[in-house]
């Protein structure tokens, strides 16, 4: 029997989305095959990793990752420039954590100011994330979208409970948009439909099916992502064709495996490597499942994942 390469033929392709401006702009998506199978399709763009920063000092991040930024994280502009200039970040994700009512409850205007300052200081693409408070994000992200007008940012996350105002703002100021639902392919599809029904171009959307950390539901995210890809490629389901986001850092850097000291759990070995490996493996699993854009925290895990991506493309 002679071996014949078993190729699939797909009907659809992942939409490509660009963000940022000028020669630092980035494009994700565009492939017409399952992740990294270049023997049967085109993969014009590789997955991109954005460095996560926030608008207030990261007191809620565990020590190991907080320390990496201790000299710069007092101010988002310095932090962003550090990522761009010293860590050679390709993109930055700024989370407006301080606007959360349970945190500092900073105003939408404050957030807009932060955005303007950060955008003035960097020339790499920016992802702007709310604090994940449904009501508050609706006003904060509207102000942020306006402040970033003309910069071709990614704004997020629009969820079932607040998408209308956020979609309208992204539309008005010509940004890309993250639509997030909760680990269910039908919910992801439904939200994308609702958003495009408002006249938002599906080619400007990014799907966040919700991430989860290694050991804490990774398998659910993994399978939802695989199913989204299969639906987009085989069934040519246009609502399942936007690039996929994996918001890895925030789910990883809170669990016990990245925080417990070696003295308390000697059987788990060195905490330093454990944390970095945890984030790197979570992210690696996501790109194997179909993620096009990652948001991560630790420079070392980002380095590892970028090397894996280079090997995969």
């Amino acid at each position: 029997m002679s071996f014949v390469v078993p190729k699939e033929s797909y009907n659809g392709k992942v939409l490509s989305v660009d963000f940022g401006k000028g020669d630092k702009a980035v494009v994700i998506g565009g492939e017409n095959t399952l992740p990294f199978l270049s023997f049967e399709g085109e993969i014009p763009n590789r997955p991109v990793v954005a460095y996560e920063i926030q608008d207030c000092p990261p007191e809620d991040w565990p020590e190991r990752v907080r320390n990496e930024y201790k000299d710069v994280s007092g101010d988002p502009v310095t932090w962003a420039k550090h990522c761009q200039d010293n860590l050679k970040a390709g993109a930055i994700a700024l989370r407006l954590v301080s606007t959360h009512p349970d945190r500092e409850n900073r105003s939408a205007e404050d957030a807009a100011k932060t955005i303007r300052n950060v955008l003035a200081a960097i020339d790499i693409p920016l992802i702007i994330l709310g604090s994940n408070h449904i009501e508050k994000d609706a006003s904060v992200l509207v102000a942020a979208a306006e402040a970033a007008s003309g910069y071709n940012c990614i704004i997020g996350k629009a969820q079932e409970g607040n998408y209308k105002t956020i979609v309208a703002a992204a539309l008005a100021h010509n940004h890309k948009l993250i639509a997030m639902s909760e680990l269910d392919i039908n919910l992801a599809k439904q939200l994308n439909i609702l958003i495009t029904q408002m006249g938002f171009d599906k080619e400007k959307l990014i799907t966040d099916p919700m991430c989860s950390a290694l050991g804490y539901g990774l398998e659910y995210t993994y399978s939802v992502m695989e199913r989204i890809r299969l639906a987009g490629l085989f069934q040519n389901d246009a609502t399942m064709q936007p690039p996929i986001l994996g918001d890895v850092g925030m789910y990883v850097w809170k669990i016990k495996e990245v925080t417990a000291a070696e003295a308390d759990v000697p059987e788990w070995g060195s905490l330093e490597e454990r944390g970095v490996a945890w984030e790197a493996i979570t992210a690696t699993s996501m790109i194997v499942a179909g993620t096009n854009l990652l948001i991560m925290r630790h420079p070392k895990s980002i380095g590892i994942v970028e090397k894996t991506i280079a090997e995969l493309t």
Binding site: S2, F3, V5, E8, F36, E219, W268, W278
Partner: protein, 447 residues
Amino acid sequence: MALTGVQIFKLLPKTNCKKCGFPTCLAFAMALAQGKADLSKCPDVSEESKKMLGEASAPPIRTFDLGTGDKAVKLGGETVLFRHDKKFFNPCALAVNIKDNLSDDELVKKATEVSQSEMERVGQKLRIDAISVEYASGSSAQYEKAVRLVAEKAPAAAIILNCKDAAAAEAAVKAVAVRKPLLYCATNENAEAMAGIAKTHGVPLCASAQGLEALSSLTEKLQALGVNDIVLDSGAKSVKEIVENNTQIRRAALKKGFKPLGFPIINFVFRDDSIQEASAASVAIAKYASIVVLSGIEKWKNLALFTVRQNLYTDPQVPMQVEQKIYGISEPDANSPLMITTNFSLTYFIVSGEIENSKVPSLLAVMDSEGLSVLTAWAAGKFTAAKIAQFIKDSGIEGRISHRELIIPGQVAILSGALEDKLEGWKITVGPREANAIPTFLRGRAS
């Protein structure tokens, strides 16, 4: 080529005697066609039919054990490309590679690391399953000695003989034949000799070639030489090659019924940087490897790789769950605190682990919530005040304890009012949101 259910049915006795466990011969035939049944379950099938069905009834990916005893790892036997289509059945073996030219002390140290690698996670005992001993010394005597030593110091681990020199390999196989080592590897150059050794000693053999065309002809050759338990090495080294080659192998076996590649896969993922190696290993685990060989096994790395393997091999239809009951931790008495949680394995093991850490004797009521986590169960209406109250009343706990206080997870603080209404005479206390705060919380109450 695989036969259809109807073609298989024609070859069965057609008595519908049910001895196979299926209601009819046709049902059994259908199951056979889908690789979900085993022909040997029908006691009455004729020898002639058996022969004709042999190929069709064999699973598309051959299944056999790596190693012996209760720690042996089942290789192969997979039926899907995507875990959500059914599930991945046989978690891949993790192996570490050791060179035979290390000093005895170092060999012992590494083998001991393997034998002590076992960890428990979510109720499963996980470990480094195998040791690959690499022939690096160039001396057959040294190789045999190293293999013996490693095998002795890691008595439960499976052995992979990483040695292309047939003479050295044969001596080593003989030395550890009772452990059924995997012989790595047969190539185009040494195929006859290696096949001879594998056949004589009844051990599995790895076929190694660059690319899948060369690999297919090599496995055909090995089978013609009488070797059936074969492991595939396509020469993939970069993660790109691992994803592409492994995908093609799995597809060829499952979708095309292509027998020469219907075997488990081995991947070597050595990298200078150990975290980089862990990342590469996670790609191989996700993408169809049955054996992943590492160059180092630090504890943090083992924990991470055991976890990713466990995650991807859980049944997507049935979350791992534990029995509904009231568990006693650290010998509680009638005054010990009572806490409640759901029966999702992950939740139970994290929470009970932290209660144990606190050293405060406690009772943990685990309520059946169809294997969902606390918030998921709450959102799905399976962990509601009414259901919790009913469970507490039915559990008989009121007769076992002298107090009436129930501690609930901080994430469902919202339930406390409704629970106090429904559980008359009970005080509801809201515990911490995250389990890692439980020790401080419990100790604070005890003092």
